[in-house]
């Protein structure tokens, strides 16, 4: 039996940014949304308004691509935006903003404590930060919380929820987050139990003519 005092977390990846369109590994480099990104954010805001979805809190990463996505939703659903540094994307060091073709060769094996891009965050550093960010949300009152963030850090937040530890060299499970794709997770503190309600829900994108992505 579900108790009243549960946390409904919606973990949303930002809409398409210029960095996404250029296919670069953005990291903490700051890129604005593309025109299509603004449309995606608007499509999601309209969907949630139609469905009568409400949130008690909206927490956003400080980077422009997340903040602009958050603003589009906050305007439609009439929410205040709280900005939290811990939901920023992975620091990928010297690889920030690089395209695959211009990256220096990767080490043969990247263990979980090794910084990426020489001085960026290791897999474990990112995992610990995601755990701290999640903990801060659960230190607050139960309710419906929307988190607007990034693919790398959100993957580690889902790891923290499910009790999965990072593996070396980018192995281990990944959770898909398309632009404006969101995961829905419910935590019941009386049972200490998480329920995964959905992963990578992007159904609103059909309204702007983006075909369903059903295979990688």
């Amino acid at each position: 039996m579900e108790s009243e005092a549960v946390y409904h977390l919606t973990m949303l990846r930002h809409a398409e940014s210029q960095g996404n369109a250029f296919q670069v590994w953005q990291g903490q480099e700051d890129y604005p949304l593309t025109a299509r990104g603004f449309e995606q954010a608007q499509a999601l805001a309209s969907r949630w308004r139609k469905e009568g979805v409400r949130f008690d809190r909206l927490i956003s990463s400080p980077l422009t691509r997340a903040a602009d996505t958050a603003r589009a939703i906050a305007t439609v659903l009439n929410l205040e935006i709280e900005t939290h540094e811990d939901w920023i994307e992975r620091d990928n060091g010297v690889l920030a903003g690089t395209h695959r073709d211009e990256r220096p060769p990767m080490p043969d094996f990247i263990h979980t404590y090794m910084p990426v891009g020489e001085k960026g965050e290791s897999a474990n550093a990112l995992f610990l930060r995601a755990g701290r960010a999640l903990h801060a949300v659960l230190d607050g009152p139960p309710g419906r919380v929307l988190i607007v963030s990034h693919g790398g850090i959100l993957n580690m937040a889902v790891y923290a929820v499910l009790g999965i530890a990072p593996l070396a060299h980018f192995r281990g499970p990944r959770f898909a987050f398309g632009n404006t794709g969101f995961a829905s997770l419910v935590y019941d503190p009386l049972r200490g139990q998480w329920r995964v309600i959905g992963i990578n829900d992007t159904r609103h994108l059909a309204a702007i003519g983006e075909p369903p992505i059903w295979q990688p």
């Binding site: 281990g172 898909a176 139990q193 329920r195 059903w214």
Partner: protein
């Protein structure tokens, strides 16, 4: 999708008579309800509209799964294959009680280890987990390709555990992946990186309003 990839779609069966009566169905056999048949037809229509194709349609032998799979396979112009690897958890003497039955709730042990058998003779969490691992292995023993599987809620949860590297916890406290009738989860496996990519959990948008 590259040629070494496995692309897996796990569907929970459509609504059965046992679901409507809120029973522990386990390995007992119940047919679909009319509503269940409409849910399966809605998913079949969606798969066709989205141009989804599969190399094999595999189903649990229980009627509620097999009927669902037959409706999906017919729409895809295919024939489903039955495999006992995808059977539901055996709940022992709890079948066919209702999980809402107050006598059942009162008699249920206060604490379950992952080794304890539900309903005295049923499958423990670890028994089921072991079957989840075997079910995953049975897919990866096939050639890379696209597989559509119709199975059951409890087993699908353990299959997800096996793919993601989660271990069962005492008293069913571990994470749950609830699946609606005809809700599907979808994942891709890349052997060269040993990486499972989870693409969807319990997508059942086709069944809204049925």
């Amino acid at each position: 999708m590259n040629e070494n990839q496995f692309f897996i779609t796990l569907v929970r069966h459509a609504e059965s008579e046992g679901n409507v009566r809120q029973l522990f169905q386990g390995q007992d056999d119940y047919p679909l309800t009319d509503r269940g048949r409409r849910q399966a037809a809605a998913l079949a229509k969606r798969l066709s509209l989205e141009g989804q194709s599969f190399d094999e349609v595999i189903t649990s032998p229980l009627s509620r799964a097999r009927e669902t799979a037959a409706i999906l396979a017919a729409a895809l112009g295919m024939q489903e294959v039955t495999d006992a690897a995808w059977l539901e958890q055996d709940f022992g003497v709890w079948n066919p009680r209702s999980f809402r039955d107050p006598d059942f709730i009162a008699s249920r042990p206060a604490f379950f280890t992952p080794y304890d058998q539900p309903g005295e003779t049923g499958e423990s969490a670890l028994d089921l987990y072991r079957r989840g691992i075997a079910a995953v292995q049975s897919l990866l023993d096939r050639r890379p390709g696209k597989y559509l599987i119709v199975s059951h809620g409890a087993l699908i949860n353990m299959v997800l555990y096996a793919m993601l590297g989660i271990f069962p916890r005492p008293d069913f406290e571990g994470p749950r992946f609830p699946h609606a009738n005809t809700g599907f989860s979808r994942m891709a496996y890349s052997p060269e990186r040993h990486q499972w990519l989870l693409l969807a959990v319990n997508d059942h948008s086709h069944a809204h309003g049925i």
